[in-house]
């Protein structure tokens, strides 16, 4: 009966003399015709499908600051047990920190030799082994019950992320060194590092680390306390190349600072106050958007948000505790207890933090956007691009036209030529592809970048979004609106970043291994050159 229902009696009846001489022939022929019709309909509407996918992707992106896509944070690794311990850091330790601060203030303008001599004298007076590299001073704490195979790194650098001296951060670290020695409930060694400058001292130490120590470092903390007192703890978590620490670290520090230290945490030092607006959800949306934009700003250029960022490259889950300068009420006591309790949580770990908790966006303290809720935006944008590349009549011909841009960019990299000097190259190309070859070249570019975007989105979501938007503009817009966009060439934009934002990506690549600079050569430059060569005629 079902069969009868499905086969509606339409079309010509079977004819014994034709090809379709049985009812089965007739029904199969109808199925084939129907299938072909559907495919044809889709094929002809590809531009529309692309527009729909792109629009949904963008809308999804805009929906990210909306609360409906968020989840409440939780600590996934049960061993961490944040804020569950009795703390011993007390006013005697605070007094020590004050004394260290007095002495630090006297030598802050000294040479590296003077400063490291003071630090080493102080640390060894606390009973610690201490030494220095060319740009940092370090101490090694071996608690009685530690096996010495694993370590926790705690650092404070001379320059705060504000640009001023981080004296209270260093004083806290020195007091912590004095406090931790001899306590017998620690299972990890501690490495205390005081780096010169803002970041390069710590980076120099990490490059030396494996020559000096055998212990494996799983987790780390960086202390940044530039002011006199503080009101909030700002958590800066983005590492170099957009590498994020396991979210458990952020959640642990948040919980500890709130419940053990008694100081409310913030992300990036953004006040967690809902702005006044027409309705509450709009205020929350704006606050979430502010957090995400700050996050995107660091991630797009692959820059670390604070000095802990250099640890990310060494597979250390870490963040910076930034004591927001204020007139009160918190000081060494709160910070010391927060650090102690956090270290105790880290001390509980039997293995590396490894749950799939590395992919997240943080729209507000205590809230996060899981990967499944934000990744579709990048995938949809990537799909919109990829689908545009399916019609590729002459793939080999197309390949011949797009390869030279990659080669030119590779040569520029090899000879260290700034992208700005490459602007004339695509304009000078004489044999521009025409007809199907041009169509194929464009399709190949769309396929390549369409595949790249979702892949990059797993590693660095904001970078993938930017790449998706750039690729869509370059490869899909007609000539007139595209020309001004292409005029903002990679070379011009990087120059602009150095001049007006003080971001020198080349220097970051040399000093801390920020891959955005080589990424510009490998991905953006060839894309731009090909986009110029393949500029659409109206």
């Amino acid at each position: 009966m079902l069969r009868r229902l499905r086969r509606r009696p339409t079309g010509p009846p079977p004819d014994a003399k034709s090809v379709n001489y049985t009812p089965e022939h007739v029904s199969v022929s109808k199925t084939i015709a129907r299938r072909r019709k559907v495919i044809d309909a889709l094929w002809t509407r590809i531009p529309l499908i692309r527009v729909i996918l792109g629009t949904i992707g963008l809308l999804w992106l805009l929906a990210l600051p909306y609360e409906g896509l968020w989840k409440g944070t939780y600590v996934d690794e049960h061993a961490l047990q944040p804020a569950q311990v009795t703390m011993y850091f007390d006013w005697a330790n605070v007094h020590k920190a004050d004394q260290y601060l007095d002495q630090l203030e006297r030598i802050v303008n000294g040479t590296f030799e003077e400063r490291t001599a003071f630090l080493q004298d102080t640390l060894s007076a606390s009973g610690l082994s201490t030494s220095n590299t060319s740009s940092s001073t370090y101490a090694h704490i071996l608690p009685p019950r530690s096996k010495g195979t694993e370590s926790i790194l705690v650092s404070a650098n001379w320059i705060s992320r504000d640009g001023g001296p981080n004296l209270r951060g260093i004083a806290t670290l020195l007091a912590l060194g004095d406090f931790l020695r001899g306590q017998n409930h620690w299972a990890f060694d501690f490495i205390l590092v005081i780096g010169e400058g803002y970041m390069h001292g710590l980076e120099g130490f990490m490059r030396e680390y494996h020559n000096l120590f055998g212990g494996v470092i799983w987790t780390g903390l960086n202390i940044d306390y530039p002011g006199h007192s503080f009101s909030h703890l700002g958590l800066f978590y983005e590492g170099v190349n957009g590498r994020l620490p396991n979210q458990d670290i952020i959640n642990t520090v948040s919980q500890v600072s709130q419940y053990a230290g008694g100081v409310p945490p913030r992300y990036h030092n953004i006040p967690d106050d809902i702005p006044d607006s027409a309705s509450e959800w709009v205020g929350k949306y704006l606050l979430g958007a502010k957090h995400l934009l700050h996050h995107f700003a660091f991630m797009v250029t692959g820059r670390a948000s604070a000095a802990h960022g250099v640890l990310a490259r060494h597979r250390i889950d870490s963040l910076t505790l930034y004591a927001t300068p204020a007139t009160g009420p918190h000081g060494f006591h709160t910070l010391g207890r927060t650090l102690e309790s956090t270290l105790r949580s880290m001390n509980n770990l039997l293995e590396r933090l490894h749950a799939s908790y590395f992919f997240y966006l943080l729209p507000r303290p205590w809230q996060f956007i899981p990967v499944g809720h934000y990744l579709p935006a990048a995938v949809l944008l990537g799909a919109s691009l990829t689908i545009g590349g399916f019609d590729c009549p002459l793939p080999l011909e197309g390949l011949r036209y797009i390869i030279p841009a990659f080669i030119a960019s590779g040569i520029a990299w090899a000879f260290d030529i700034h992208p700005i000097y490459l602007i004339s190259i695509p304009l000078a190309v004489l044999s521009r592809p025409r007809g199907p070859a041009k169509k194929s070249a464009r399709s190949l570019m769309r396929l390549l970048y369409g595949a790249l975007i979702p892949t990059l989105a797993m590693v660095n979501f904001p970078q993938a979004i930017i790449l998706a938007i750039i690729s869509l503009l370059y490869l899909c817009l007609p000539e007139i609106p595209c020309v001004p966009i292409l005029a903002l060439a990679p070379g011009v934009l990087t120059r602009f970043l150095i001049r007006h934002a003080g971001i020198d990506l080349q220097k970051e690549w040399m000093e801390v291994g920020n891959l955005t600079w080589p990424g510009i050569y490998a991905i953006w430059l060839p894309l731009w050159m090909n986009a110029v060569i393949l500029l659409q005629e109206n």
Binding site: N20, E24, V28, R36, Q120, R145, G182, D391, P393
Partner: protein, 619 residues
Amino acid sequence: MLLSSLSLLLLAPIYAAASKASRHHPDDAFYESLTLHPLPDGRMSVLFQFETEFSSPRVLSSTSQSHHSLTPPSLILPLERNNVSELTISFTSGWDQQRSSSSGPLHYESSGGGGEIRGWLKDGDDVEDRWSAVTHALGGLFCAGLGPGDSGENVRTFGNIYPEKRRTSNTTHFLLSHPESHLCTENLTPFLSLLPSKGLSGISSLLAQPGIIFTWASQSEGIEVLMPTSSNDGVWRGWWEGIIDLVDNKGNRKRDFSIEGIFKKKIPKAFPETQQSILRLIKDDSTAITVHPSGKEKTDWIDGKLRDIVEWDLLDQDLIGGDININWDEEKFDYPRHIPPPPITITRTVIDKLASDGTFQITINNNEDIERKAVYSELWPWWVKGWMSEVELTVQGEKRPELIESISYNPSLPPKISTSTIHFNVIIPPKSKLILKIPFSKLTLRYTEHRPDAERGIELPSGILTLLDTIPESRHDPELESERRDSSVAGPDVSRKGNDARKTGRRRIYTNRLLLDVPTPDFSMPYNVIIMSSTVMAVFFGLMQGALTRKWGWVEVPIMKGESGTSSLMHGETKDNKVSVGADTSIVGGYEVVHESGEKDLSKVTIEQSNLVNGDAVT
């Protein structure tokens, strides 16, 4: 009344046997000592040593029976049954060479980090089985897995590193390293139960306090058994060592201590059967130490230095129930800025870290003005594969391949589980820093070989530097004694003359343990893979089944409504191909379609391999 007398009658032979056994054999003897060695950074090494001499229970007995008076049968019987001639078990939690001025724990037989069992077995066809039996038996005794996971883990190339104490012929050496083992409370109770005094009297009663002992640092525990031979008595020694902090971080900055202060007990009453019970204090500090009550002063060579020693005889009735105070002649103790390093320090790290490769960097510092000869040994699990052709030795940045006299390498042969061992015969120039680099790869572990905490990584045993040029520490060297007495008159020459790095019983110096990250699969992934591959298999099977059970034939496909519109669009898209598609195209499977224009429809000239739902209809 009647009942009790009956029980007395019944139990009489047992009482008699018991009273006989309590009279221990005249040759059996028990010695114990407690050594205190203050370290330069305000800490103190505390070493308990227990030694029992025993004769072979079988030799003196006419019938086959075993007498154990001071020796524990649970320890001796498995060794006897399995024909073991010498055996050492050691658990060590680690050592800080930098801050202790010493290359290793006070007890020379302490191994590197973790657990270790090694010994000499008399040869025979079943030697491997006997070794396995004895390790498992003693593992149970020490509440620790001491046996091999696989027989390939047994190492047999370390006989020269751990030579026999008594030269006997036809024996085989075995070594098993367990770097992942901890030393914990579970190890103390079995250790005490092996002692004749059981932690109830004598020095062992000071040790029987886990709440105190396990707050100490750098613990080391071990036993060593030399089985009796026809010419020698047997000896079994046990030791326990730990480091305590003398300086209180808060407030009290003095090192002064007393026995009662450390152990919360007065000097205990002696174990009745003990021959000797000694408390020893090694004074090699620049600051003067006063003791009360005073003990016997002497000097001895210990670990390359002639050191002042104070000894108390704890069998002395005047001391029992009393206390001993040790005081430094100082206002308060300050941690020194620099601590003199031991003659030789050795560290091992992994550089050039990648997920799959790395390089062991072994740094040997010779701080003395004498050239040393040594063997550096490593043992690796099967999945660590060294690149022997790329081994590099540098001194002060200069390549010095001639300092490696020979290499003996016994590689593992995967996939069989076996341990790689490697011995470098090296010369360490005076006052130098020697760096040995061994590149290696990590082979992929099998799924079942990962530990429960897979993301932790896996510990590697300590590397061992065996010094070949040590001179025994002679207990009483009259010549030196007199020399020292002379020099003590002379004054400042004391320290120089009392230093000879070679004059030590410490032949082996251990590196730290290493935790090596291993490439770890995401352990939820196998399930995803199973789900995915099952789906692919099902789809594939469905397609194949369909293809094989269907019949094939020709079908004529009608012109659909709206196809003309579609075609014209297609026309627009494919104009470059110079193919025109007519509005009245009839597409017939299996036929070339000729259009009005006479051009071939290239895009459609494919045979429609349509399937018939009911194949029987087409015949």
